[in-house]
């Protein structure tokens, strides 16, 4: 059973709004601003789970994934953009800093068979259920 236990122990993304100067006027055209990252989505079936995380602008080397039994921890760091000499911020909304989220799955994860790919700022992790756990499951027949 899915326990829906999501820890969010250290979402430390800062939101440093810099000095605002009206070089651009942003015209409201959408229903809201994009939510704080990393946005997570989790899908599941009996023997596998998929985790999708939105991590725009991050590099693979800035992302760390760890698995411990039935928990996947996604953490990383997003450095602020380096500006060239003579450049200055007018508006800053993109999130920078450290983030960490732990996802608890309803089953133990098979360590050696995890697949993770990072495309267009989206991290997708496939987490198969541990074979040992599958073997431990005993079906009880009705007598």
């Amino acid at each position: 059973m899915w326990t829906n236990r999501f820890h969010n122990p250290g979402l430390l993304f800062g939101n440093n709004l810099g000095e605002f100067k009206e070089i651009f006027d942003e015209l409201t055209s959408a229903v809201g601003t994009a939510p704080r990252q990393p946005i997570l989505d989790v899908w599941q079936k009996d023997d596998e789970a998929i985790v999708r995380a939105e991590l725009p602008g991050l590099k693979v080397e800035d992302i760390k994934l760890t698995v411990l039994r039935d928990e996947l921890t996604l953490e990383g760091h997003k450095a602020p953009e380096t500006l060239g000499e003579g450049s200055k911020y007018i508006q800053r909304e993109r999130l920078t800093g450290d983030f960490k989220r732990t996802i608890k799955l309803p089953f133990e994860i098979e360590n050696g068979a995890i697949e993770a790919k990072f495309t267009d700022g989206i991290l997708e992790v496939k987490l198969p259920r541990s074979a040992a756990e599958k073997a431990r499951k005993i079906d009880i027949k009705l007598g």
Partner: protein
């Protein structure tokens, strides 16, 4: 002119709300960074999941519009057990100030981030006009 733009924007909001009721699609403004460089501006917009062929950047008169779509993968056999509601549609409209050269705007999409490079119009050079005297 700007009144017209704002009116259009308001309609877009209404339409977005209507379509949100019908489907789980969300239209949001991307988070942006804007900075001024030595010869212009750089705008960075977070558009995670948007592929190059699903992004449109247009400039019409004073307004720069960006619209990006994310195609969510079909997860057959899976059920969604947790969701922060991923974004499927990004829309941003920006009014460009007069000192931005509309013709030389460059756009690059990498790792889910759009980088727009906008150059300032070259400042008018002061020229002296010789006055003929008879």
């Amino acid at each position: 002119m700007s009144t017209q733009v704002l009116e259009n924007s308001c309609n877009a909001v209404t339409d977005a709300k209507k379509s949100e009721k019908k489907s789980p699609q969300r239209i949001v403004s991307p988070r942006i960074d804007l900075f001024e460089t030595a010869n212009g501006y750089v705008l960075l917009a977070d558009l995670p999941g948007v592929k190059g062929d699903q992004l449109e950047v247009t400039v019409e008169k004073d307004v720069l519009t960006l619209a990006g779509k994310v195609e969510l993968q079909d997860r057959e056999g899976f059920r969604r057990v947790y969701s922060d509601r991923p974004v499927t549609n990004y829309q941003g409209r920006f009014k460009l100030h007069k000192d931005i050269d509309r013709e030389s705007i460059e756009a690059e999409l990498k790792n889910g981030v759009l980088r727009l490079t906008l150059k300032k119009v070259a400042p008018a050079v002061k020229t002296s006009i010789a006055i003929k005297t008879s």
